[in-house]
Amino acid sequence: MYGISRRGLLQTGMAAGVLAATGLPLRAQTRGGKFTAGLSGANTSDSWDSRTHSDIFMISSAQGAVFDSLTEIAADGSLKGELAESWEATPDAKTWTFNLRKGVTFHNGKSFGADDVIASLQMHLGEESKSAAKPIVENIVEMNKLGEHQVELVLAAGNADLPYLMADYHILMFPAGQIEEAISQGIGTGLYQVTSFDPGVRMTATRYADHYKGDSAGFFDEIEYIAINDNTARMNALLTGQVDAINRVDFKTENLLKANPNVRIQEVTGNEHYTFPILTDVPPYNDVNLRRALKYGLNRQEMVDKILLGHGRVGNDSPIGPANQYFNAEMEQLEYDPDKAKFYLKEAGYDSIELDLSASDAAFEGAVDAAQLFQASASAAGIKLNVIQEPADGYWSNVWLSKPLSAAYWSGRPTEDWMFSIAYEEGVPWNDSQWGSEDSARFQELLVSARTELDTDKRREQYYEMQQILRDDGGILLPMFSNFVQAVNNRIQTPDTIGNGWQMDNARMAERWSVA
């Protein structure tokens, strides 16, 4: 392989495929060129208001190109500073000091400082605020400006993850006093400066000349993101070369893309997972033995093979995934075992049982099919599941959280604490298994103590134990993690490690990719 020149190697698409597979660096990334991406998840109601962002189009445009946050999650999952250079906490993880980067300017020339951080955080507060980051920011009771480039944040309850939470795509830095203007025009400190934005249609931006990230990031001169919500249209656009990359490749047509020598597929397993939540406070589900019977009556591998067509990873009934820091990959995998399921069913006091399973494709694509697979595999253990197909409209308000056994999906969270506190802490609104201290007092204790634990090793131990508890006794059946599958034209070079926190390299294509 060493005798071949780079040019010769690149001339055949197959060789490029080999390169991508072996992960050999193609060459140093160079500046220049234009990058066009076709992305789904765009709406006519989109805006630069990061409080409303929820899908890949706006996240790639805002956090991925035009705006910055205090911290950033690198492609390998580690945390690094973005607008904050360094940070430190008091031992109780309650008071945090962030040292901000100096000499940073917004695209309108205003210089970035402590006031901008405080104003940007306060955007998420207020009674009327519907910001998805409100629960994070609410915990900050005091925001003190210690200097032009230093901020102190005091929390109501200690949280060792605060620097991680500051990398959330909702919490972007806007210029203080000009927030409305910044939201209407898209004025941030990011690598790219907006040239046009038509909500639900397209966004274009050019490289901001003197950005603090210098030559180490943001290699394109110009980027264009086109909203293409239709799967087939997105694939056509990539195949005809009108866009360089697309997100969410349809699993069913993936082979067509693979056959094209100019295009390569990127696949990473992140935290997005599909579940069958069980309300643990509703009889007969309050009996842990019945839940165990269901756990063993579920054929996880079959679901990954048939519902995700292999584009996923079997779950182990814990929502902590490969994109998390403390993912416990060593837990024994729950396998399909009708005998064990029968055993636990007997322990629960039944020879056979009839249960209703509510599903709709609103929960996740293929949820009704998955429910039917579950029905078939569970019947071998004497569990008769009646699959009820619920209407997709209003599914989240009428079925999820109210029917005792249903289907759902979670996009996952970058930190363990965030995931657990949003859906597994006693009494929180999205606790879709009504998981509480009656089920496991130990779990709730660990949740609180791990939150303020600054020692990584101790913290790992605690999170591992929590995952084990959920695997053994938990109320969520989590058969699979679904992969992010995206496709890129070979004229675009991508780094060896692709972020798995979000689609499209954590939505940071514009920052990390370059023309080959």
């Binding site: 076709g38 605020s129 639900g200 249609v201 919500n229 656009a237 195949l239 005809t240 989240w396």
Partner: protein, 329 residues
């Protein structure tokens, strides 16, 4: 001429009543759909409190009749209102400037009209020309081939025709782009090139109807005595058809052309989605998805108005083209 004016006024009055009824039907129908804007926009995050908060903000907690009357009052002062999405956004922002439905629809409508115009420029001449030729060479191989082709293309679903065109004209022979993402400030020639595939798809869909009507109307007349006379005079078949038969066949042809033009404005939803064309159809689909009633209502009224106005135009043109109707005794 005064009788024509009377007809126009009469028809416009009837049109307004139709629009009124359409608006009620749409309003009720959208409200009958399960889920509402608050649930749609919140998705999985639809806790009872946040749903109630959005409903309160947007007035969705008011009874149906009150909401309709409110909307109608705005309508009578030509105010299409503000979309729920924008209003919800504005509330979250603390009442910052928001975009009205009219401002939202205007650029999309002009894109759709552009596409309709391009399609009409291709489809109408082609259809009439093919129709005349089919009448001239009726029951020949040409007639049968033209019928077979146009009828097959009208009978296939639009998205299928769209994909066939993409396959042949974008993937195998990259002549036109498969992505019609036109935007403001684009050069006319580029805009035209990008709109070509959706325009051709629509052409395939509407041609058959117009062509068959042209053919039928002309053949119908060919049995009339005055055509026989023209033939006996020794005129060429082409001249008989174009000079003698066609002018008298215009009324039904104009009618069917108008109907198809209306279809070009209202029926483009699927085509716009396939080609990612930023027209009113896409906006309509997006809005129905999130139950954004003000936008849905406005789109439907535009669709209904297009039908009513084009039908009216067709009737007037057929009156003008027919001296007997122009000068009633």
């Amino acid at each position: 001429m005064s009788s024509i004016l009377k007809i126009i006024l009469q028809r416009l009055g009837l049109g307004l009543i139709t629009l009124f009824i359409v608006s009620i039907v749409i309003f009720v129908a959208v409200n009958l759909l399960p889920g509402d804007f608050a649930e749609a926009i919140l998705g999985q995050g639809a806790t009872p409190e946040s749903v109630a908060q959005i409903r309160r903000d947007l007035g969705l907690d008011q009874p149906l009749v009150a909401r309709y009357l409110d909307w109608l009052r705005g309508m009578l002062t030509l105010d299409l209102g503000t979309s729920f999405a924008q209003l919800n956004f504005a509330k979250a922002m603390g009442g910052a400037g928001s975009v009205t439905v009219a401002e939202q629809i205007a650029p999309r409508l002009s894109n759709t009209l552009f596409l309709a115009a391009v399609t009409a420029c291709i489809a109408v001449p082609v259809a009439v020309f093919l129709g005349v030729l089919a009448a001239l060479y009726r029951n020949t191989a040409f007639d049968k081939a033209a019928n077979l082709f146009t009828l097959s293309s009208i009978s296939s679903p639009e998205f299928f025709m769209a994909y066939v065109l993409i396959l042949f004209l974008a993937v195998l022979n990259p002549v036109f782009p498969s992505l019609s993402n036109i935007y403001e400030g684009m050069a006319f020639s580029e805009r035209l090139q990008k709109s070509m595939l959706p325009a051709l798809t629509l052409t395939l869909v509407v041609t058959a109807h117009m062509m068959r009507m042209t053919r039928a109307a002309i053949i119908n007349l060919l049995a009339s005595p005055y055509i026989e006379m023209a033939r006996l005079k020794g005129l060429s078949p082409m001249r008989v058809i174009v000079k003698h038969a066609l002018p008298n066949a215009l009324a039904p042809i104009i009618n069917v052309i108008a109907l198809n033009l209306a279809y070009l404005i209202t029926g483009v939803v699927v085509v716009e989605v396939v080609f990612v064309y930023p027209g009113i159809g896409q906006l309509f689909v997006d809005s129905v998805k999130i139950r954004d009633i003000p936008v849905v209502q406005a789109c439907c009224l535009i669709f209904a108005a297009a039908y009513i106005l084009l039908n009216l135009t067709a009737d007037i043109l057929s009156i003008i083209s027919n001296p007997r109707l122009r000068h009633p005794k």
